[in-house]
């Protein structure tokens, strides 16, 4: 006889219960979520805000940003979580978030990403127009990247310009002066390479340094991807061919030839290891040198991009903050961004990074950080002098131009010639074909 308290569960009962539990779980999962919160809940349950941010070479800036976000969150009953990831990993996270319709509320964008993902971004025109008025105007490249079809899709956050950091002692010993034209740059580089300390420049597939050098190089010799309409491919030209031929001369005569394998960190290491005498970079090399290699910092200085036959050009890394259209906390996200953009907070962030990044608004030209160290003024000058352009120039930085950049077509135009995979003319033909394919897609 069985025990009275022990009920035997039949197969039918077990399956029935399991189905009921399963159905309940499915129903709960499919139930409509709570209504969207449009403003920080000052009382009651805190609003949650997730911010996706690329890790900086200057960690002090990341730490301070986290702190400022937390401070604002505490005051406004918002739980702010800032997630730092690598630059090169950001596109995958953005794509996954957009496709899933959930994820970070605010994402830090760079370059022309706002053009690629414009449909997934909230209109922030009111906020940006307000900032432009308050902060003395904005630089043209910051506007070009973020104003898509007359609508601001992201708030320009910072500019991270690159200039040439160089070893004053090596320059002296090799008896060369700071170059003011690209032809001089090649000649100076040849002497430095002969001296045993070549110029270093990345030519691999990496987000910042390779495009940062090779786009301005192309423009300076007169080459361009497309015409002003942003649609007609114009790469196949004598000017582009000249740019590629000069690149080959530069590569074998003046550059460290390992640059073909370099990513954004390689030149930092090579410079600090005293392998190279000069390289295009943000302020991170100088910042780290001052902190960890003071003797190297002492004999380092900076100069801006030389001029080419077509003029002086530069391509800055520009960052912006976009609010995702799927976010349930749009107002909280806007409030946080406006708080961080306020010079009272923002200047502190610029200061700890020694102007590694600074605001793309004109008030930043007079930021006190520029008085801290005369050697960093080149970073301000290259932004203020208006040489900054964007992929797709002289057209707008369209989604197609961003795709060309993401596919490293312009970088590979030079890499294919410098690695001798193609002759310069064939490399130009190859790149023009790739451009026509991308711009020709509907």
């Amino acid at each position: 006889m069985g025990k009275p308290w022990r009920k035997v569960i039949t197969r039918r009962e077990f399956l029935g219960s399991a189905l009921a539990v399963g159905a309940g779980a499915v129903a709960a999962a499919c139930a409509p979520s709570q209504p969207a919160q449009q403003a920080p809940a000052v009382q009651g349950r805190p609003t949650q805000l997730l911010v996706l941010w690329q890790s900086s070479f200057v960690q002090e800036q990341d730490k301070l940003l986290d702190q400022m976000a937390q401070d604002w969150g505490k005051k406004n009953n918002v739980e702010v979580r800032v997630e730092h990831i690598a630059y090169n990993d950001t596109p995958a996270r953005i794509a996954a978030a957009i496709q899933a319709g959930s994820g970070p509320d605010v994402i830090r964008w760079t370059q022309g990403w706002a053009w690629i993902y414009e449909n997934s971004l909230v209109d922030v025109s009111k906020e940006v127009e307000d900032l432009i008025k308050r902060l003395g105007g904005i630089y043209p490249d910051a506007e070009a990247y973020n104003k898509v079809g007359g609508v601001w899709r992201a708030v320009p956050w910072s500019v991270n310009p690159g200039v040439f950091v160089y070893r004053t002692d090596y320059f002296q010993e090799a008896r060369v002066q700071v170059p003011t034209t690209w032809d001089e740059f090649i000649q100076v580089g040849k002497k430095l390479k002969a001296y045993g300390k070549p110029i270093g420049q990345a030519l691999g597939h990496s987000y910042g340094d390779p495009p940062g050098f090779w786009y301005p190089w192309l423009w300076a010799w007169g080459g361009k991807e497309v015409l002003e309409d942003g649609k007609t491919v114009a790469l196949e030209s004598d000017a582009t061919l000249l740019a590629v031929e000069k690149a080959v001369e530069l590569f074998y005569g003046a550059l460290d030839e390992s640059g073909l394998s370099w990513d954004d960190t390689s030149n930092n290491r090579a410079y600090l290891a005293e392998q190279i005498s000069c390289t295009l970079n943000g302020a991170s090399i100088y910042f780290v040198a001052k902190r960890d290699f003071p003797k190297v910092a002492q004999v380092s200085d900076h100069f801006v991009h030389p001029r080419g036959p077509a003029g002086q050009f530069s391509l800055h890394a520009l960052f912006s903050l976009g609010i995702m259209s799927y976010s349930k906390n749009v107002q909280a996200a806007k409030d946080l961004i406006m708080y961080l953009m306020d010079p009272q907070q923002y200047s502190k962030w610029v200061d700890v990074g020694l102007a590694y990044e600074f605001a793309p608004f004109k008030y930043s030209e007079n930021d006190p950080v520029w008085n801290k160290d005369p050697k960093i003024k080149a970073f301000r000058d290259i932004v203020v002098n208006g040489s900054g352009r964007w992929p797709g120039w002289p057209g707008p930085p369209t989604a197609k131009a961003a795709q060309v950049r993401e596919a490293y077509i312009i970088v590979d135009l030079f890499a294919k010639a410098c690695s001798r995979e193609f002759k310069p003319a064939d490399a130009v033909k190859w790149a023009a074909g790739q451009l026509r394919q991308i711009y020709g897609r509907s």
């Binding site: 794509a95 690629i116 993902y117 073909l260 394998s261 390689s266 290491r269 596919a407 890499a415 509907s442």
Partner: protein, 315 residues
Amino acid sequence: MAEKGALAEAPPVAVAKKPARPWDPRLLLEREEVLGYLLMLPALGLLTTFVVYPFLYGIWLSLTDSRIGVPGGFVGLKNFIELTRDSIFQQTFRNTFLYTGVTTVFKLAFGLAVAVLLNNTFPLKRFVRAAVLLPWIVPTVLSALAWLWMFDSTFSVINWMLARFGIKGPVWLGTNPWPMISLMAVNIWRGTPFYAISFLAGMQVINQELYEAAAIDGASRWQMFRHITLPTLRPVIIIVVLLSVILTFSDFQLIYVLTRGGPANSTHLFATLAYQVGLPSGEIGLGAAISLFIFPALCLTVFLTLWYMRRQELD
């Protein structure tokens, strides 16, 4: 029989019970054929959610001009046709087959050699067998980062050692053909333990009497390997090669960490190119089409392998 006959002749006793209705939901669960399918449902649901749906969605995407955040329209085979004309894709196609072919041959040869060595008795045998697995156990990203450092143009330990012998090492990840060779070397280093341990497991179940009989007949070690070990091991070899080809064909992490497909696309494989086109460039339809190019090649590999195995069984 007598008992059965007695039962058959017994008077009906179930007068009070109604005859069972075949579609009574309570009784349906008592039927094995229904219950079997019901118990399979959770697994089927998981497979549908995580395998069938993404696969079908991938096929659909490849037939559209979708971009991230922008649902596209149906374009038929346009993406595939465009890809076949694209020089970067053509280069990727060649890279993928070369990478998979070369690494598979080397992993097979090294795996067999290591397995034969490990199948002997020697001091610290268990420790060595466990240690051999390390490259395969360590997460790929971690080991790839270590290799990145070893290939670094400034701090390469390999070049540092070569320099001690007066040899100037190449730019491992920069100057062709070294980037592809370097990637293959790392893939072989990582994949060989999987082959070796699988072969070792296969060798340990081979009947020792076969070797003893061969030894009595005067067979050499090579002859034993050639005529006993290899034929007996063939099913294991085929399965291991099959799995390895599938994994190598779709390799991503190693390339992503070491070269990102550069320099000048010389190391792109299908997976890395699909990522570059589909995610950072936002052309998810085209990216899906690149991914799907792997599918027919893998199907053919699986079909040929299974056909060969079946033929061996029949023989």
